[in-house]
């Protein structure tokens, strides 16, 4: 029998108040082992207070070759940014 352990993506919250961020991936037979391995591989110097793991095959990703059509609706919408709006000199706290 020869079966490779699946790949897991690892997300770490570096401290309470911050979001979990993708830090890397690793191999593990199941989620318990994935969390233990993530502890050893990615938090040897107290880099985290919480770990999420998810098997890589469960992640759906956008396709980079479709990036233009996917993201271009946002290109011409400068009015979504505060700098689009003109204010007279001297107006404060806005």
């Amino acid at each position: 029998m020869k079966k490779e352990w699946p790949i897991w993506e690892v997300f770490i919250r570096t401290k309470n108040g911050l979001e979990h961020r993708h830090i890397g991936s690793l191999h593990a037979a199941d989620s318990t082992m994935a969390i233990e391995n993530a502890r050893d591989v990615y938090t040897r110097r107290q880099e985290g207070v919480s770990i999420w793991v998810v098997e890589s095959i469960n992640i759906s990703a956008s396709n980079p070759s479709n990036s233009d059509s996917l993201f271009d609706p946002a290109i011409d919408k400068a009015y979504r940014h505060p700098t689009f709006y003109k204010l007279p000199e001297g107006v404060k706290h806005i």
Binding site: M1, K3, D40, V41, R44
Partner: protein
């Protein structure tokens, strides 16, 4: 096809980072798989010469430090294997290439650690050389490789410091201890200069690697950097560099140094170094004897998963 390659080169020239699912020339992919996996193998095989002294450290302080360092190297190997896997090769394939002797790893790890001073030297010179190379690679064009390098560089500096501290202690010790340190420097200095690879004039990959920003400095530039910093550090230790040609060159603003024995380098690369066989045998033993653990973990995971589905069905 032509256009895709031109667009790709333009992206690199603009300083953009390439990510796993982006289009890339097949040769860029292959070169990266080769380079990242060689780097990963070096971290893993690199644990062996140091592991040799784990049970024989002079103090407990040295032991916890060395254990932590060796564990970091395992971590570095894992970060790098993960980066290589984003290019479409599996972990098992990578291990198989290493175990079959088909993959290369840094030739420095084919030298034996004969004395405790060698552990100091590895931290000081081998990790020192690795840091010079890896700092450059934090700006390499392939995203996962660059990110792995950032993590690795954060961890490396303690490795070099613990090595330098070992050297410092020996150099401030008895005459015999100082001699041990000098002997170790004599044996490891030249192999650590070889770590940067063949001279630019003979390096087959350099030109393309620079064009794709896989490398940002040439082997000779990095080697010079190593010579310049090490000569100064050796002065602090009071050790003599084992190269009579080392001399400050005012005009170049660098230290000149002697001719490297490239014949020795190629011998070790081709498998005829002092420990090549031993290193490969150790890796194969670990892989073979760990097979039942890998298989048992899979069997357990499958059983647990089956139990869960059953519980849901009920």
């Amino acid at each position: 096809m032509q256009d895709l390659e031109k667009d790709f080169q333009d992206r690199i020239d603009r300083g953009e980072v390439i990510e796993p699912r982006d289009w890339m020339p097949e040769k860029y992919r292959k070169t990266h798989i080769r380079q990242i996996s060689q780097h990963a193998h070096s971290e893993i095989v690199g644990m062996l010469p140091e592991g040799n002294w784990l049970t024989r450290t002079p103090t407990l302080r040295r032991k916890v430090a060395l254990l932590a360092k060796v564990q970091d190297e395992a971590g570095h190997g894992l970060y790098l294997y993960s980066a290589a896997e984003t290019l479409g090769i599996s972990r098992d394939e990578l291990f198989e290439q290493l175990n079959a002797g088909k993959a290369k790893y840094s030739s420095i790890f084919n030298y034996p650690t004969l004395s405790w001073a060698d552990i100091g030297i590895i931290g000081w010179l081998v990790d020192g050389a690795a840091i010079i190379n890896q700092v450059m690679l934090t700006r390499t064009s392939y995203g996962p490789y660059a990110r792995a390098m950032v993590k690795i560089c954060k961890e490396e500096s303690f490795h070099q410091r613990q090595g330098f501290e070992i050297m410092m202690t020996l150099c401030n010790g008895t005459a015999v201890q100082k001699q041990m340190a000098q002997d170790s420097l004599n044996r490891w200095w030249w192999p650590s200069l070889m770590m940067f690879g063949p001279p630019d004039a003979e390096s087959t990959h350099t030109e393309q690697s620079m064009k794709w920003k896989i490398k940002l400095k040439t082997n000779d530039e990095l080697r010079q950097q190593m010579v310049d910093v090490t000569v100064e550090q050796a002065k602090v230790l009071g050790l003599t560099m084992p190269d009579p040609d080392i001399k400050w060159n005012e005009e170049r603003g660098h230290y000149d140094f002697g001719e490297i024995d490239w014949e020795e380098f190629w011998q070790v690369v081709k498998g005829y170094g002092p420990c090549n066989k031993e290193r490969l045998a150790a890796r194969n033993k670990a892989w073979d004897e760990g097979a039942w653990v890998r298989e048992a973990a899979v069997a357990y995971a499958e059983k647990q998963a089956a139990k869960r589905t059953q519980a849901i069905a009920v």
